[in-house]
């Protein structure tokens, strides 16, 4: 083996040990160290894949889709490398390989399944030569970090344009994603058929209402949410592609969501054990990718139906007799979907919202005003109280006030521990916790000290090895 690569691997692994000693969560330091010593580290390690490297990107759902796909492949008997959530820049991706390599640089695996930050797609793709790229959706996210959405999409379009052999798995319902179907690469589309929850009106958080190809305003027959729906350009003919993998009769279950997946003329019923309508999209993406990679559709369904949410992806806990949910919120589209959960759950509940404005959250919190909190004007009837916390908890409280939530239902409590306790001990029979990125783990930590995880142990053995 190349001596430089050897040194890079062992130094990266030493850095991993040090950073664990320091208590860093999901650190990407090992990858950073290795890449600094030898820039070819990622390329060399990714090339060891027996079968290939898969990238999963998009604004929302990439962590869940990635973990679902990793689980599908793992349970199909493959050796899988998967990066930790959040560690999705080039250094984090490199770290995922380093973790699995022995100190002597030995590394064997079949698939690497990697979630990649949108802006890092060009850099990572150039190194790993992906066999497949899955794109979930594009929403406005952390504008002050990336500039505008258009630029991000163009960046990825260029990167995919340089990969004509790569299989693309694309969301048919999102015009910003579906446009990649025009590239030279083979593409398979997934999407949702109309169902009871579609809306005819446009949401306030419109991400892109113009045709990405010609700039004319798109016509929509209906919307699933945001710009996802049945679209057609009146001018150039660009329209929602016919999906090879389509979810029919989408519906809510007691504690999950369900649909029938149609693929190749056959129907496969799917019941996901996690709430959140958007999780159907993640499952459809993982189903499309998994079956394309040769896993039997029935086995993919089995894996999806036993999927456990990652930290803060509608993670479930129990506090005394009370069901408790923890969900990450990071942009208007995702937050709107989180609020939709409050509508689905008719129980009286307490709601906790923690908003931070650190770099990883996006320093500009004005996106909170693009969230349709106005739905709470009606939904607050079933909410005992709202507890707002985090570095900008007071501003979150102001947002609720202007959305029409009664003042006596709003509490701003900057002390996170205190605030979590208040929501847990509230009079509701369920509790929902929403947190922005850097507030998520602190909130989870406080929650864990008070509650019992709802599921978890029984599946521990079959989780994708991302630890």
């Amino acid at each position: 083996m190349d001596a430089k690569l050897m040194i890079a691997i062992s130094s990266g692994k030493t850095a991993a040990q040090c950073s664990q000693l320091l208590g860093h969560h999901g650190s990407s330091l090992p990858g950073k160290v290795a890449l600094r010593l030898y820039p070819g580290t990622l390329r060399a390690l990714a090339a060891r894949a027996e079968r290939g490297v898969i990238l999963v990107t998009g604004t929302n759902g990439k962590t869940t889709t990635n973990n679902m796909l990793a689980r599908v492949l793992l349970e199909a008997g493959y050796r899988v490398i998967c990066n930790r959530e959040g560690a999705n820049l080039i250094s984090g991706v490199t770290t995922a390989f380093l973790r699995k390599a022995t100190a002597s640089g030995h590394l064997e695996f079949d698939w690497a399944v990697l979630e990649v930050d949108e802006a890092s797609v060009p850099g990572v793709a150039a190194e790993v030569d992906p066999r497949m790229v899955v794109v979930t959706n594009f929403f406005r996210d952390q504008l002050d970090r990336y500039g505008e959405l258009d630029k991000t999409v163009t960046l990825i379009d260029d990167a995919l344009g340089r990969l004509p052999q790569t299989q693309l798995v694309l969301n048919a319902d999102d015009p910003l994603v579906a446009q990649f179907g025009g590239l030279a690469s083979p593409a398979v589309f997934f999407g949702l058929a109309p169902h009871a929850r579609v809306v005819e009106r446009r949401h306030h958080t419109r991400e892109s209402r113009f045709c990405p190809l010609c700039g004319k305003e798109l016509n929509y027959a209906f919307y699933h949410y945001s710009q996802l729906g049945l679209f057609r350009c009146p001018d150039c003919g660009f329209r929602r592609p016919e999906p090879e993998v389509e979810g029919l009769q989408a519906r809510y279950l007691e504690d999950g969501v369900a649909c029938t997946i149609r693929r190749g003329g056959r129907d496969y019923p799917l019941e996901l054990p996690t709430q959140g309508f958007y999780n159907l999209y993640n499952a459809l993406a993982a189903f499309a990718a998994g079956t394309l990679l040769g896993v039997e559709p029935e086995r993919v369904i089995e894996s999806l139906e036993s999927y456990e949410p990652a930290t803060g992806r509608l993670q479930r806990f129990r506090y005394r007799d009370k069901p408790v949910y923890l969900n990450l919120v990071k942009n208007p589209a995702g937050f709107n979907e989180s609020l939709a959960l409050l509508r689905t759950d008719g129980r009286r509940k307490d709601v906790f919202i923690a908003v931070n404005d650190n770099v990883a959250d996006g320093r500009d919190i004005s996106w909170l005003w693009d969230v349709d909190f106005e739905v709470l004007e009606e939904l607050q009837r079933n909410v005992a109280g709202f507890v707002c916390s985090g570095l900008r908890g007071e501003e979150m409280a102001v947002r609720l006030k202007y959305a029409g939530v009664a003042l006596q239902k709003i509490v701003a409590e900057p002390n996170l521990k205190e605030a979590v306790g208040r929501a847990l001990d509230g009079p509701g029979v369920a509790a929902y916790f929403f947190a922005t990125y850097t507030a998520l783990w602190p909130v989870e930590k406080v929650l864990r000290s008070r509650v019992t995880p709802e599921r978890g142990k029984q599946h521990a053995g079959s989780r994708p090895s991302i630890s």
């Binding site: 007071e394 409280a397 947002r399």
Partner: protein, 241 residues
């Protein structure tokens, strides 16, 4: 009845700017002042003189271009309404467009409406971050906060600034000034959105709008403890506690 107009809400709503309309309308409603929000849609006829309050936000470059093209046709009508006392809040791109021009690089000059004596020049890097400004409302100093994110540097001619920068960049990062005041027109680079975060400024605009329709501009006090705490927290984050 106050009529609040939101100019091209589909195009110009880049940083939660619709919160400004929400705040204006709520603070009227909470005081039983009848108010209606009118969305001004691209290409549709509009008479700005029929409005009492107008909000103009910012958009991405492409959206900004579309708006500029359409709004140019209404320039004289908007100018008359402003002379007539229309209360206007323009943020970021909307603010720049009311001036003479926007100069990108060395070559290209995008003409503005020329309703305010100011111009804007593209800068080498974006000015991004939390921002605090001291403004004078009814003769009393008030500290307002927000978040700015702009690459344009704006320079004022014979118009008053909205306020003095306490923390952040403001108009251009050099002269310590932020925004513009001209008659009842208020311009600023502060997103946040600005009005919900700064209820005293909002109330000032509501008063001006009431005066314009010949009603008593005195406003009943509201319970603003949440806003005050949020403002204090924002100032504390800037070391201005």
């Amino acid at each position: 009845m106050l009529v609040a107009g939101h100019l091209y809400p589909d195009l110009l709503n880049l940083y939660g700017d619709r919160g400004n309309l929400i705040a204006f309308a709520r603070r009227c409603t909470w005081r039983n002042i009848p108010v209606t929000v009118r969305e001004i849609i691209l290409g549709e006829p509009v008479d700005f003189r029929e409005l009492d309050f107008l909000f103009i936000g910012g958009g991405s470059d492409r959206e900004q271009g579309i708006m500029a093209e359409d709004l140019r046709r209404h320039r004289d009508n908007l100018g008359e309404a402003i002379e007539d006392g229309l209360v206007v809040l323009a943020i970021c791109g909307g603010y720049q467009f009311l001036g003479h021009h926007y100069q990108t690089g060395t070559e290209r000059v995008i003409p503005g409406l020329g309703l305010l004596d100011l111009y804007t020049q593209a800068g080498p890097r974006r000015l991004i971050g939390n921002c605090a400004v001291e403004v004078e409302l009814d003769g009393r100093p008030v500290r307002i906060t927000g978040f700015e994110n702009h690459s344009g540097r704006t320079f004022l001619g014979r118009v008053q600034p909205l306020g003095r920068v306490l923390a952040g960049y403001g108009n251009n990062g050099t002269d310590g000034l932020e925004g513009v005041r001209f008659r009842n027109v208020f311009c600023s680079y502060l997103h946040g959105p600005l009005l919900p975060k700064n209820p005293r400024l909002t109330d000032h605009l509501v008063s001006l709008a009431l005066k314009r329709v010949g009603r008593n501009p005195a406003l009943a006090p509201l319970d603003d403890r949440l806003e005050e705490r949020a403002g204090a927290a924002a100032l504390a984050r800037l070391g201005l506690g």
